[in-house]
């Protein structure tokens, strides 16, 4: 009898429910979700009450109404008679335009500055460091105001415009530059370029397979480059080389012809590129430093040329370190382009802001901005993740 109780006590007992981790977990989660739902319901309830009191209709019906406000610059045709939806589209294209251009230019600037920071040349190294430290430690908003001020107040009138490059004019009306005139052959060039890229990819694949099979190396890089450059060039020449630049010319008080960056756009682009470039420079530098010196020495011992060493040994390993933070810088640049609103460039946020002020549809407007930025963020990180997977270390 006594032995039985002892045995029963030594057997692990099921704890009481308030000490059972599994039960606790379920109860805690139910309470947590209930609290969140209750908070959400409270907010929605208040919002609906407030909206009813202010006579604001909910829903996206306002998008079809006439916008009735001017937009300073637009890549797509737009007039104040168009709908709010059209205005939103203009804002979206403007945001994407400045972000895409900014990403390309900031990458170039950042890579150059990152390499300069590792240069053996003391002067170059220090200049790059000064650039990085100054522009990284000053708020972007302040930098944007500064560049905008330069273009608005310090830049001369078009009649006395600065000319940093031949036929490029900087004045208080913005930056004007020559643009190639559109021609029917130009669309063929694009097709030829795509064909060239596809052919180069195919060639690289074939070369890789042949090298794996036979060990013979084929200079697919050079031939691929020749294809990518050569095919459009051939199409261009075959089309009779129709290249005429539309050069901006001063007529009266402003420039006519050529491409134009408005002061707002130019200030935003310059500010974003210089600010993000400073961060990218540090990322590039850290990525290259992360490849240990032994790798470089081993490559030299194998007799690789400096170019091969860079392309086959250093770059692939550095890219692995560089790409994840680079992705977040690209995302930052895109999100930072929303600062356009402070200098009056009509980006998505600025147009949504005008719309909210005119219609009172704050919730819908902000929901649309958030949805767009989330979509952009997700697509950039998706494409960068795909690229990252391509360069990632393959563990065997």
């Amino acid at each position: 009898m006594a032995r039985d109780t002892a045995a029963a006590e030594s057997r692990p007992k099921r704890p009481p429910p308030w000490h059972d981790p599994a039960v606790r977990a379920v109860v805690f989660q139910i309470l947590f979700v209930a609290a969140i739902v209750a908070l959400g319901a409270f907010l929605v309830h208040n919002t609906l009450l407030n909206l009813r009191r202010q006579n604001i209709a909910t829903g996206f019906g306002f998008l079809e109404r006439e916008a009735a406000f001017e937009i300073g610059e637009s890549l797509i045709p737009y007039s104040p008679a168009d709908s709010y939806a059209a205005a939103f589209l203009v804002g979206l294209t403007n945001t994407l335009y400045v972000a895409a251009l900014g990403i390309v230019l900031a990458t170039i600037l950042g890579a150059l500055m990152g390499l300069a920071r590792l240069s053996g040349n003391w002067l170059i190294r220090k200049l790059a460091q000064i650039y990085v430290e100054i522009f990284r430690n000053i708020p972007l908003a302040l930098q944007l105001f500064f560049w905008w001020g330069v273009l608005r107040w310090s830049a001369p009138a078009p009649g006395r415009a600065w000319q940093p490059l031949p036929d490029v004019f900087v004045s208080n009306r913005g930056i004007v530059f020559p643009m190639p005139e559109a021609h029917a052959v130009h669309s063929w060039l694009l097709l030829a370029l795509l064909a060239g890229i596809a052919a180069a990819c195919g060639l690289a694949r074939w070369a890789r397979q042949r090298q794996a099979r036979t060990g013979q190396i084929f200079p697919s890089g050079w031939f691929g480059l020749a294809l990518i450059v050569g095919l459009p060039l051939a199409a261009f020449v075959a089309g009779g080389a129709p290249l005429r630049f539309e050069v901006p010319a001063l007529r009266g008080f402003n420039f006519v012809g050529g491409g134009v960056f408005s002061p707002e756009f130019a200030a935003l682009l310059v500010g974003l590129v210089i600010y993000t470039g400073a961060f990218i420079a540090e990322i590039v530098r850290a990525g290259i430093l992360a490849v240990s010196a032994g790798q470089s020495e081993a490559a030299m011992a194998l007799g690789l040329t400096p170019w091969q060493r860079m392309r086959l040994i250093l770059l692939p390993q550095a890219l692995r370190v560089i790409i994840p933070p680079m992705t977040s810088q690209y995302l930052n640049l895109t999100k930072n382009s929303s600062l356009a609103v402070i200098i009056g460039f009509p980006d998505l946020v600025s147009i949504a802001n005008t719309t909210i002020n005119q219609t009172g549809q704050a919730i819908e407007g902000i929901a649309m901005i958030m949805a767009v930025y989330l979509a952009i963020s997700l697509s950039i990180s998706l494409s960068m993740n795909l690229y990252n997977r391509a360069v990632a270390l393959v563990e065997r």
Binding site: L123, R136, N137, I138, L142, F279, I283, K335, N336, Y373
Partner: protein, 375 residues
Amino acid sequence: MADIEHELGRELPVPAARPRPRTHGPIGWLRANLFSSLFNTFLTLIALCLLAVTIPPIIRWGLVDAVWSAPDGLACRGADGQEAGACWAFVGDKLRFILFGRFPYDEQWRPLLVVAIFVGLIVASCDRRLWGRRLVGLWLAGFVAVGVLMWGGVLGLTYVDTSLWSGLPLTLILAVVGMLFAFPLGILLALGRRSELPAVRAVCVAYIELVRGVPLITVLFMASVMLPLFLPSGLTIDKLLRAQVAFILFAAAYLAEVVRGGLQAIPQGQIEAADALGLGYWRRTRLIVLPQALAMVIPPLVNTFIGTFKDTSLVIIIGLFDLLGTVNAALADANWQGFYVEAYVFAAAIYFGFCFFMSRYSLMLEREFNQSRQH
């Protein structure tokens, strides 16, 4: 704005030094560092040309031809209406407005004291002997002092409404208070994201990714436009508090990711050891996991703070006058038109001073940590 992810821009320890050049003295240094090859010589010459073209005009504008005192903007300009040198007289004339904005003029010693307290607290926080309870006490005391000085209404100080708070103290309050409240929230979010409870994890992941996916401007808009709609009617919160809430919610998502980095670096053995000692989840987290995780992420935490500090300049969008806002307001004075370079350079110097100090400090910490980890 969202470069709160400053952490990746940090400097890595410099690898083994390259062999010393055989030649010594200044000539040898020049040869090794500036003229080591044809290409380097070319680069050096280009850089020297660039400096020769840019530096003298800047010095002439900023120092030699600068006007240090003048009654108004006209006196800064020459007969042709052009500005020959920098009009520092403008900054001098507007100094108190730029720093303290619309705070009552006779009471401006109070925000000055607030700035001094903040600077003192930040500097004191850099001293590692103070880290721990004493520092927390110091900060709490500092906050009480800041609150009393800014609001007033007690101890014979006149009451000053938050709508008059502006300039540098506002910038510092937004950044420091934002960071301080975002910190516990960020830790909770990071723990939630690593939680084994699926519902908690899902909510935390959704919050973090949503906030990190949108620009700060939208969060600020949301706080200024939508928050009043969310609350029961009759309940209004003042504009400063709304902006502060937006900063806290925004910074918490970024902090959560920083803290998560530290949590992931804790070896599983530590957690198992805590379990073996019979510690529950909260005691394990408080006594074993968090102290180690947070110590590891101090440098990126400092960088997040730098990011938040720079981000405060966005509050001008919702009509608050932080340092950048007061600078813009000073520029609107009809007596002093067009001296934007002077004004922005002055503001930039203040921002730079704070950010550069903090980033150097984080760099120093990082180096020390890396060294102690190697031993």
